[in-house]
């Protein structure tokens, strides 16, 4: 886990939240801008999952099952958010994506917290 990556993921997630809320306010459905943002978010999450998985060791992190659950569970959220948002025809499509991105933003910090709690 790296703090820089978590900060980068949070920043991208925040942008996706803003883009999603903006389209709800503008009474629009989601478009390529949202897709690109969510795609970038997902790519960063995959990089994080690979790096963190490679660096795991004995007792790091202490709560390994929860950590792995979050590490791989978070990968599903942007995908679910995009699929859901694209199926939604009303202006709430953007808010659906915004909720998903916000959840990712919270989950990566929880991941970092779990990572820093070592068994030693």
């Amino acid at each position: 886990m790296s703090l820089a990556l978590v900060v980068a993921i949070t920043a991208v997630a925040a942008l996706v939240v803003l883009a999603g809320l903006a389209s709800t306010v503008a009474r629009r459905r989601t478009g390529l801008v949202h897709l690109a943002g969510a795609g970038l978010l997902e790519a960063l999450l995959v990089v994080q999952a690979v790096l963190a998985f490679a660096r795991m060791g004995d007792g790091t992190p202490a709560d390994t099952p929860t950590f792995l659950g979050y590490l791989f569970g978070v990968l599903l959220i942007p995908v679910a958010g995009v699929l859901w948002a694209q199926a939604e025809r009303t202006r709430w499509a953007g808010t659906v994506l915004a909720v998903a991105a916000a959840a990712v933003g919270v989950m990566v910090w929880r991941l970092l917290q779990l990572w820093e709690t070592t068994g030693a």
Binding site: S23, A26, R27, R28, R29, T30, G31, L32, V33, H34, D63, P65, T66, G69, G73, I77, A80, G81, W84, E88, R89, T90, R91, W92, A93, G94, T95, V96, V99, A100, A103, V106
Partner: protein
Amino acid sequence: MRDRGLGRPAEAAAPGSTGPARVLVLLYGIFALAAGARAGVQLATRFQEAPLAYLLSAFAAAVYVVATVALARGGRGGRRTALAAILVELAGVLVIGTLSLADPAAFPDETVWSGYGRGYGYVPLVLPVLGLLLLTRRRGA
């Protein structure tokens, strides 16, 4: 081009609007996942440490799953089931929240509902209120 990039203009919400309900279903889905995963891990790895707290986690997860499915299905039956699940959820977060603050020793490990859901940004406290607002508003419409 603009429509492709920024999204096509939205269609007007149908009567008995589904949009806000979708958002709520997603929120409930995330909580069903989070609470379910947490309960699964707690029950599988350290059940003996705090059986009551972990069974409560599992119960909370089940309530979220029922609420998610009922809200997603909609209709009269779905709404009635959702209402029941949300009332149980509201009672749960208030009772467990109060007990966990009054008697922390009884709750050695956190549950989703501990401290009124403070471990989850108090979303567990806000969620049932939003759910009730949505259900009652649509009933009135």
